[in-house]
């Protein structure tokens, strides 16, 4: 009973729910601000994502006549729920160690594609040709970036599992133990064998977040936001909230996998440290990349993902195997 209550608290307040949303929206606000500064613009205030979401909530919900009503309404809820649950599995080193202590890396791997699937579901249910095209693009892109992600997770799990030896059976899929092992033996981000995997993860981030150069499914100047085209009001707000939660999840996962070090025994200090690391990771892999690139065509993006990040991740996987 207490466990269930605690799990619900972890999904709604910390680290999932309110905290994840606040951090996600702050990241998005900072991202827009920094991008604007890089382009010598002023940019919107940091609270702009909150204002946007609040404005959308006051708007009317419109459902296209030809849309598949149930799927159209269900899609954003589906993506949101997936991310809300997933956020509770993300450890905040030195503050919170994750919802479960076994196999949660696999759970995260299964939950992570849910927002993309929600987008596909919503896009195809909207009955708009732009949504249909966005659907096929999103699916291709997802197939392309999930492969390197799987290899990244495997290489981290294998390396930690091997080092833990008798305590674990082969690969270690518990984030709790992965984080604990790194806190004792040094962060994997500084381990030469894991540097290719870290690079692959940095490349994976813009793809999964759907930002330039991989904003292909929603390509504004080609598909007018693709799957999101027919969405408006609270449903669209739910998509932006999901995206904010996903920002927290992928950044937090990156920190847990590669840089879970803490700098103090006090939890508030560790929390601030975690937030700073998240922001640094976001600025490096999302904002800078976004402002220095244009958009790939879907075939180019697919070819890119199945070659460079996949090769990098494979490199780490092999190194983790032989070392």
């Amino acid at each position: 009973m207490i466990d269930t209550l605690l799990a619900i608290l972890h999904m709604t307040i910390f680290p999932g729910g309110i905290f994840a949303l606040a951090l996600g929206f702050f990241c998005k606000g900072l991202d827009r601000r920094v991008e604007a500064r890089l382009q010598r613009r002023v940019g919107p205030p940091l609270i702009q994502p909150w204002l946007d979401a609040a404005k959308l909530l006051t708007k009317e919900t419109l459902i296209p006549k030809t849309a598949c009503r149930a799927a159209f309404l269900f899609a954003p809820v589906f993506g949101f729920t997936g991310m809300a649950v997933c956020a509770a599995f993300i450890p905040v080193p030195g503050v919170y160690s994750g919802l479960s202590n076994m196999g949660d890396l696999l759970v995260i791997f299964y939950l992570l594609p849910l927002p993309a699937m929600a987008l596909m579901l919503g896009g195809s249910a909207s009955s708009s040709p732009f949504g249909a095209l966005g659907f096929s693009r999103e699916m291709l892109l997802m197939l392309a970036y999930e492969t390197p992600l799987l290899m990244i997770l495997l290489s981290v799990a294998m390396l930690v599992g091997k080092n833990l030896g008798a305590e674990s059976s082969g690969a270690e899929f518990s984030l709790l133990r992965i984080v604990a092992w790194q806190q004792e033996n040094g962060s994997l981000g500084f381990n030469p064998a894991m540097i290719p995997a870290l690079l692959a993860y940095l490349i994976f981030l813009p793809g999964t977040m759907g930002v330039a150069p991989f904003d292909i499914a929603e390509a504004e100047t080609e598909l007018l936001e693709g799957p999101l085209l027919e969405y408006g009001g609270p449903l669209l707000a739910l998509f932006t909230v999901t995206s904010a939660l996903k920002t927290f999840v992928v950044l937090g996962l990156g920190i847990a996998l590669f840089f879970p070090g803490t700098i103090s025994s006090l939890w508030p200090v560790n929390l601030v440290w975690f937030v700073l690391k998240c922001l640094a990771l976001m600025l490096l892999s999302l904002t800078l990349v976004k402002s220095a690139t244009g958009r790939f065509r879907i075939d180019q993006a697919f070819r890119f993902y199945v070659t460079i990040p996949a090769a990098l991740a494979l490199c780490s996987l092999v190194l983790a195997w032989v070392m």
């Binding site: 010598r40 249909a132 095209l133 390509a219 080609e222 007018l224 790939f296």
Partner: protein, 366 residues
Amino acid sequence: MTVMNTAGRSFSMPLGPVHVALEEPVYFHLTVEGETIRKVELTSGHVHRGMEAMATQRNLTKNTTLTERVCSLCSNSHSFTYCMAVENVLGVSIPPRARYLRVLAEEIKRVASHLFNTAIQAHIIGFKSLFMHTMEVREMIQDVKETVYGNRMNLAQNCIGGVKCDVTPELLKYILGMVDKMEPEVEEIRELYTSNSMVLGRTRGLGLLPGEDALRLGVVGPVARGSGLKMDVRKDSPYAAYPDLEFRTIVNDGCCIHSRTTVRLHEIFESFRLIRQCCERVPDGATTASMRQIRAAEACARTEAPRGEVFYYIRTNGTDRPARLKWRVPSYMNWEALGVMMRDCKVADVALITNSIDPCVSCTER
């Protein structure tokens, strides 16, 4: 459900008349198979304003203002060509100073127009920083326009018999200074567009218009020059001060989106050369010639606008209102080439290819 159709059969996709990538309204009916375009149908006419009829209800002087409002980016070319046509019909020849000042205004507009088009290309491929940077550089030429002519888009420089605004020596010096400041910036932009792998990956070898098709369809301006055709009204039938000025006709035989962009970017430097020469060589004297009595006659005139050849035909009947005023704009000729360029292209490239002909819908439909 629509999704089912993407599997093998084709489905139709509307693009426009209101679309982010299009600056002006035009409707593309695309038949799409997966990501590949199988058929393109164009429908236009959304912004028809009946300007040719309006021109016959206004006197010759008022029509200068009207023709300047045909289009925003090549506004100066329209009033320029119109004034030339009227001068031909009246038999007026304009003073040498006016010839140079007209070329000066025309080339300033050309720089702004070409930079705008290249910026939009970056916007379409989602390269926001490059778009912002190009527009920032363009802002300098906008400042020049505002400082010299008082307007940022429609310069209102041409009038029948000469030019309205006399550019003082201080302003000429200011223009030269701004050109010196802009040149390295534009050089940087040119390097970016010709070397950035992201831009090249989206533009090189796409939207092909082979030379023979270009000739058959009669395309003009940078579209023709990007397909290896050496045609430029400024050279072929020189007008105003162009015979006395040195510049090159830029030709690129890549036939793709990238080669058209390259032509535009190189032309900006030729325009800088022309602006410099105008500022240095502009003779002293009157800026306007006096009007003559209007007779019943007909005449035509053509100039090289940023998008290609603009042609004006005028027929007068002895009154101050033209009996007929007809013009043909470059986009009208380039429009048909889209069918060739978009053959079997990807959905992602439609907006890029459309932008590569630098379409001006308000000109074409007036």
